[in-house]
């Protein structure tokens, strides 16, 4: 052992001054960065992130390949020459934001199982901070799918409409949707330590919200009860906002407001839930 040993003068400690938000920024940024480093170091994540958009568009987008565009446009209630892919793209992007919370949820359960949550919570880090870092981490992971999918759509021959500003609004809406769902997901799995939970919940919420949203088919063809769900479904808001940009070049910005409200509500409720119920192990 070396002689020049670091010495901690007892009682005299280098502690940075308390910052805003109870001094949790350092912990939050560190944990979020950890989340992203771990995610993008995993080759499977990269593969799936890139493969999934292509598969969606290739398989789902080809479902109506033998149907005439004119008939399809009538069915979809879209302007002539739109085609199913143009209609579908905003819906698929919205749908893919729905399951991003699952990633954060699984990484949280892993941290509980491997004891890392104890390592975090034995430092001056609050449960709310851990929760928020997981929300942002998993939402960010979902967001990298957006550019990939747009490139994929372009490769499949989707027509792009709308101004830069409209696109920015649409993407902001997707970000809010991703944050909202990831906040929701992480809150309901806050007290879980079971590997199965995130998958079960993902199946349980993804399926109904995907189909009762107007993301994949126009909601005007739904029965009444499904339209009611669709009216309250943030996935639908994002799909309609995107379609407003991509198909009509005339988005209804109210949807962006709804999405903002959804994200805010989920974050506030989720933070309260996590501060109380986030399990350590």
């Amino acid at each position: 052992m070396s002689a020049d040993v670091p010495r901690g003068p007892p009682g005299q400690r280098r502690m940075p001054p308390r910052g805003v938000v109870g001094g949790q920024w350092s912990q939050f940024s560190g944990l979020t960065a950890r989340e992203l480093i771990k995610t993008f170091r995993n080759p499977w994540v990269i593969l799936i992130t890139f493969a999934q958009p292509f598969m969606w568009l290739a398989f789902f987008g080809s479902s109506f390949a033998n149907v005439s565009v004119a008939y399809l446009d009538k069915l979809l209630d879209a302007p002539p020459g739109t085609g199913y892919l143009d209609f579908l793209l905003p819906g698929v992007l919205a749908t893919s934001m729905m399951s991003v919370g699952m990633f954060g949820s699984m990484s949280t359960i892993q941290d509980k199982r491997f004891g890392f949550m104890k390592r975090i919570l034995i430092t001056p880090t609050t449960k709310a901070t851990v929760y928020l870092s997981k929300v942002v981490g998993s939402a960010t992971r979902g967001l990298v799918q957006i550019p990939v999918m747009i490139v994929a759509a372009w490769a499949f021959g989707v027509h792009f409409n709308g101004s830069v500003l409209m696109w920015a609004g649409w993407i902001a809406g997707l970000v809010l949707l991703g944050i909202g769902f990831s906040a929701f997901f992480l809150a309901i799995t806050a007290s879980s330590t079971d590997w199965q939970t995130p998958g079960v919940i993902a199946n349980f919420i993804t399926m109904p919200l995907m189909f009762a949203s107007g993301a994949l088919f126009p909601a005007s063809n739904y029965p009444g009860w499904m339209q009611t769900i669709a009216n309250w479904n943030p996935v639908g808001y994002s799909a309609l906002l995107g379609r407003g940009v991509l198909v009509y070049a005339n988005p209804d910005w109210l949807y962006l407001g709804y999405l903002g409200l959804f994200a805010l509500l989920m974050i506030v409720i989720g933070t309260l839930v996590a501060a109380r119920y986030l399990r350590t192990e």
């Binding site: 052992m1 070396s2 020049d4 040993v5 670091p6 010495r7 901690g8 003068p9 007892p10 009682g11 400690r13 280098r14 502690m15 940075p16 001094g23 350092s26 912990q27 940024s29 560190g30 944990l31 960065a33 950890r34 480093i37 771990k38 170091r41 491997f114 004891g115 890392f116 104890k118 390592r119 975090i120 919570l121 034995i122 430092t123 001056p124 880090t125 609050t126 350590t280």
Partner: protein, 360 residues
């Protein structure tokens, strides 16, 4: 802070438990934990009001030393660390750590203590350096790189700092964990069973490191262990803990001097009775553990010939002598070995009880 790193009063932790739990703050320390009384398996009341993992512990740990919590599996050692670091809430009582109340100012406590887990806990996907970086972020250290480099050098990890921690050996992982715990210059560092599962060489190395950390960094250490030798070698003060209660406390030398006796452990095929064994000259106390007899004697050397005369020497399977050590201190108080085979059977019972509860 007036020379004490830790002060607790009636610190109590009950896991689970039903409505009876409301009565806990006032309950007298459970009778089964009275000094010197040999214990039967946990009473049924334990299940009704949950598992009393830490039972009215009054604890004073002086700054600057190495304090050891010595006790068998399931004694409540890990739980005490969880309570003192704010990982788990106290059911009753108070605890002051590094000058702050754990329940009122947990974040103040947490930035003044370090923690080394029994099961090494690191992020295996990150490198050694990245683990240090994250720890610095979590402890809000602005200026940590110099100290991190120094620690890596001290623990001889510098040339592996860029490797993923998943590829480290067990000894290296343990060292890195201690480096993490020391990064923010804590006043006090908790080490839960620091050498459990390590090979003898690594254990030796770690013993040196722990002493080094205490002397050279001036950091108080609280460690838990169920190895007699470890407590004896490392600790300036030892508290012996059993069933969540402190049953003795003092420096290893003090504790040993309190037991002016040897213990003789005896296994025989002969049918013998308490009375017959107690009648052997020099035997002061007799206890049984199934087929094994435990005799408290003034001097084993003088009593063994008496035993051989009094019993049928041909039927004796085994005679084992325990000279004064922390083991005999524990034996004297609880009537059992710290590392006894089967000592954790009550734990299984509790475990299954809690499983049954969880299923319902």
């Amino acid at each position: 802070m007036n020379g004490y790193a830790i002060v607790t009063e009636k610190m109590t932790k009950v896991y689970g438990g039903g409505s009876l739990r409301l009565g806990i703050p006032g309950v007298p320390p459970s009778a089964r934990a009275e000094r010197g009384v040999p214990r039967s398996p946990p009473p049924v009341e334990d299940d009704a009001r949950g598992i009393v993992a830490v039972d009215h512990v009054d604890m004073r740990v002086r700054s600057g030393g190495v304090f050891g919590l010595l006790g068998p599996n399931g004694a409540g050692k890990t739980t005490i660390i969880k309570l003192l670091t704010g990982l788990s809430d106290l059911t009753a009582g108070t605890a002051q750590v590094a000058g702050f109340d754990v329940q009122k100012d947990p974040l103040e406590v947490k930035q003044r203590v370090g923690w080394v887990a029994a099961e090494v806990i690191l992020d295996d996907d990150l490198s050694g350096w990245e683990n240090l970086w994250l720890q610095a972020k979590l402890q809000r250290l602005a200026d940590w790189k110099g100290r991190a480099e120094e620690l890596l050098k001290y623990f001889e990890l510098t040339d592996r700092k860029k490797d993923k921690v998943g590829h480290y050996s067990t000894g290296m992982r343990k060292k890195l964990e201690i480096a993490l715990a020391l990064l923010h210059e804590p006043e006090l560092i908790f080490m839960d069973e620091p050498t459990i599962g390590l090979d003898p060489n690594t254990r030796q190395m770690l013993w040196q490191l722990i002493t080094g950390v205490n002397r050279e960094f001036g950091t108080s250490v609280l460690l838990t262990t169920h190895y007699i030798e470890e407590a004896d070698r490392l600790c300036s003060e030892v508290a012996i803990i059993d069933h969540g209660r402190f049953v003795a406390q003092g420096s290893p030398a003090e504790l040993k001097s309190r037991v002016q006796a040897d213990f003789v452990e005896l296994e025989t095929a002969e049918e013998v009775t308490d009375e017959r064994l107690r009648g052997i000259p020099g035997v002061s106390e007799v206890r049984t553990q199934g087929k094994v007899w435990m005799l408290k004697v003034a001097s084993a050397e003088e009593v063994i010939p008496n035993i051989l005369r009094a019993l049928d020497a041909g039927k004796i399977h085994r005679i084992n002598v325990e000279k004064p050590s922390l083991e005999t201190v524990f034996l004297n108080i609880t009537g059992k070995h710290i590392d006894q085979v089967g000592a954790d059977i009550p734990d299984y019972r509790k475990f299954y009880a809690s499983m049954m509860r969880a299923r319902r």
